[in-house]
C-alpha cells in the first residue's frame, strides 16, 4: 500500500498518484507503482491470514486503504473443488472460483471497492462508469453505501435483471444508443470535460488493481501456491492481465513459489477479437462489432487485448472462443454438475474449458482454476427457453404417482 506513484507501462515516465490514466508523452497506460522494499513473504503471509475476510486482507498490495464505513466486504469468495464437472471433462484437479458470491454477485465489486476508496481520496462526489452491466451494478451499490451520487452508463439492450438490480440502488442509469464501445468512447470524452470519478476511465489505474485479488485468493486458498492453469473470461482483458500480475507479485515477494501459470483466455465467438488474433498468429487485435448472448463480455475493442495475447502466448496458455450454443450448454452443465448458476460469461469460461479439455490442450494432471465471475440470476434470458418446464399436478397422491414418480426414477 505504500504507493510510489504512477508509472507509464510503455515509456516508464513517472507521474504523481492522481486521477489520471494515460501517459502524457505516449498515451500508454499508467500503473500504480508500490514501494515494496523490505516486504518479506513470510511476514506478508501472516498479515494476510490475520486480515479481514474480504479483498482488504491484501491491503499491502492494493493502492488505497479500506474505508470502513463504505465497505461492502467484497471478495474472499469460495474456491470449490469441482469433482463432478471434473469427472465430466476428464480434469480431476479442477477448481472453480465462485465469484458470484459478491455483494452485487460479480467480480466487479472487487475493482469498484478499490476505485471508490481512490475516488474518496481525490474528493470526487459523482461516481460513474462505462459498463456492460455488472460494473454498473457494483458502482451503484457502492455509491449508495458511500452516500455518493452515481451515474452509470450502459449500452441499450442489456438483460432486464441487470438493469433492475442496478436501478434499485437509485443511481441515474443512462442507456446509450450504441454498443459498449460507444459507451466507452463517450465516457472517455466525458472524463476530459467533467470532474467525475469514472471508475474504469480516470480511476482505471486504481480500479484495475482490485482484480489482482482474484489471484491472491486462489493462491492462498490452494495453500499458498499458484495453479498450473487459469481459465478467465475476457471482455476488456483487464481482469485477465491483473490475475497474472497478482500471481507474479506474490512470487516476486516470496509469498508463493515461482511457477508459470498458463494464462488461458475465454471469449465468445460473437465477440472474439483476441481469439481471432491468437489463431491468426498476429499481434494486432482488430475491433469487431459484438453479437453474442454473453453481453458482459461484449467489448469489440478490448483495451488490454494486446497484453492478453502476449500473456497467453508467453505462459503457454491459449485464447479460445465458443459459440452462443456452447455457452448455454456450458451454463447448464455447470449448474447440473456443480450446483452453480452462472451468467453467460461463466458459460464462456466453462465452454472454453470443455473445448480445451476435449482437445487435450489442457492436460488431466493440471491444477486448473476456472473463474466464474457473474451470477445466472441476472441473465435469465440466456436459459429460460431451454430449461425443462415444471410439471403441474393436482394436490393428490394419485396425480403425484401418475405424473411425477416416473420422472424421479422412482
Amino acid at each position: 500500500m505504500a504507493v510510489r506513484g504512477l508509472v507509464c507501462r510503455e515509456c516508464g515516465q513517472r507521474f504523481p498518484a492522481e486521477a489520471i490514466f494515460v501517459c502524457e508523452s505516449c498515451f500508454g497506460p499508467l500503473e500504480v507503482e508500490y514501494d515494496l522494499d523490505g516486504v518479506r513473504g513470510e511476514a506478508l503471509r501472516e498479515r494476510i491470514a490475520g486480515g479481514p475476510g474480504s479483498i482488504w486482507r491484501y491491503q499491502d498490495l492494493l493502492p488505497v486503504p479500506r474505508v470502513p464505513e463504505w465497505d461492502l466486504s467484497p471478495g474472499f469468495t469460495p474456491l470449490v473443488r469441482a469433482h463432478r464437472l471434473g469427472d465430466a471433462l476428464g480434469l480431476p484437479n479442477l477448481y472453480l472460483k465462485n465469484d458470484t458470491r459478491n455483494p452485487t454477485w460479480s467480480f466487479k465489486d472487487r475493482v469498484v471497492a478499490v476505485a471508490l476508496a481512490a475516488g474518496k481520496r481525490f474528493g470526487f462526489t459523482v461516481f460513474s462508469c462505462a459498463s456492460t452491466g455488472n460494473l454498473a451494478n457494483a458502482v451503484a451499490a457502492h455509491a449508495a453505501k458511500a452516500g455518493l451520487r452515481a451515474v452509470v452508463f450502459i449500452p441499450k439492450g442489456l438483460e432486464r435483471a441487470k438493469v433492475i438490480t442496478t436501478a434499485v440502488y437509485r443511481p441515474t442509469v443512462v442507456e446509450v444508443e450504441g454498443t459498449y464501445d460507444d459507451v466507452n468512447r463517450l465516457c472517455l470524452e466525458i472524463a476530459d470535460e467533467h470532474r467525475w470519478a469514472i471508475a474504469n476511465v480516470n480511476l482505471r489505474p486504481y480500479y484495475s488493481e482490485g482484480a489482482k485479488t482474484l489471484a491472491f485468493e486462489v493462491a492462498e486458498q490452494l495453500g499458498w501456491r499458484a495453479p498450473d492453469r487459469v481459465v478467465v473470461p475476457v471482455g476488456s482483458g483487464n481482469m485477465f492481465v491483473k490475475i497474472h500480475k497478482g500471481f507474479e507479485e506474490f512470487e516476486r515477494l516470496g509469498v508463493i513459489p515461482r511457477q508459470t501459470v498458463r494464462m488461458t483466455a475465454a471469449q465468445a465467438e460473437g465477440c472474439g477479437p483476441i481469439a481471432t488474433a491468437y489463431k491468426a498468429k498476429t499481434d494486432k487485435v482488430l475491433p469487431v462489432r459484438p453479437n453474442t448472448i454473453a453481453k458482459s463480455l461484449a467489448i469489440g475493442a478490448p483495451a488490454d487485448g494486446a497484453y492478453v495475447l502476449d500473456l497467453a502466448r508467453s505462459t503457454g496458455g491459449a485464447v479460445e472462443s465458443v459459440t452462443d450454443g456452447e455457452v448455454v450448454d456450458a451454463v447448464r452443465l455447470l449448474a447440473q454438475t456443480e450446483g452453480l448458476f452462472t451468467e453467460p460469461a461463466g458459460g464462456v469460461t466453462i465452454g472454453v474449458l470443455r473445448k480445451l479439455a476435449a482437445s487435450g490442450a489442457i492436460g488431466p494432471d493440471e491444477v486448473t482454476v476456472a473463474y466464474i465471475t457473474g451470477i445466472g440470476l441476472k441473465a435469465l434470458e440466456a436459459v429460460e427457453e431451454v430449461v425443462e418446464p415444471s410439471v403441474t399436478i393436482k394436490p393428490t397422491l394419485a396425480s403425484f404417482e401418475e405424473r411425477v414418480l416416473a420422472l424421479a426414477g422412482g
Partner: protein
Amino acid sequence: MAVTVRIPTPLRRITNGERVVTVSGRDLAQALIDLDRRFPGIRAKILDDRGEVLQFVNIFVNEQDVRFLAGLQTPLEDGAEVSIVPAMAGGAQA
C-alpha cells in the same frame, strides 16, 4: 472541408488548452496534417514514423472507430467530427 477535431487532455498542452480545433482536409490524413500545421508536433503524438495510428490512440469520425471505416483514408464531409481518444489499456506484467 472544415472539420472539428476533439483534442484529448494529454494533447491539450500542444493546443494551448484548446479542446476543439477546426481544421480542413478531405480525409483524416489531410486533417491531421492541417492540425499539425497549426500545432506543430501534435501529429507525432498520434501517428508513428510509418504514418500509422499509434497503438494507444483510437480515432473516431462521427462516432465511428476509423478502423471500421477506411482508417486514415476515411473521407471527411464538411462539418465532420473527429475525436481522438486514448485506447486506455490498464494492465502490466509488473
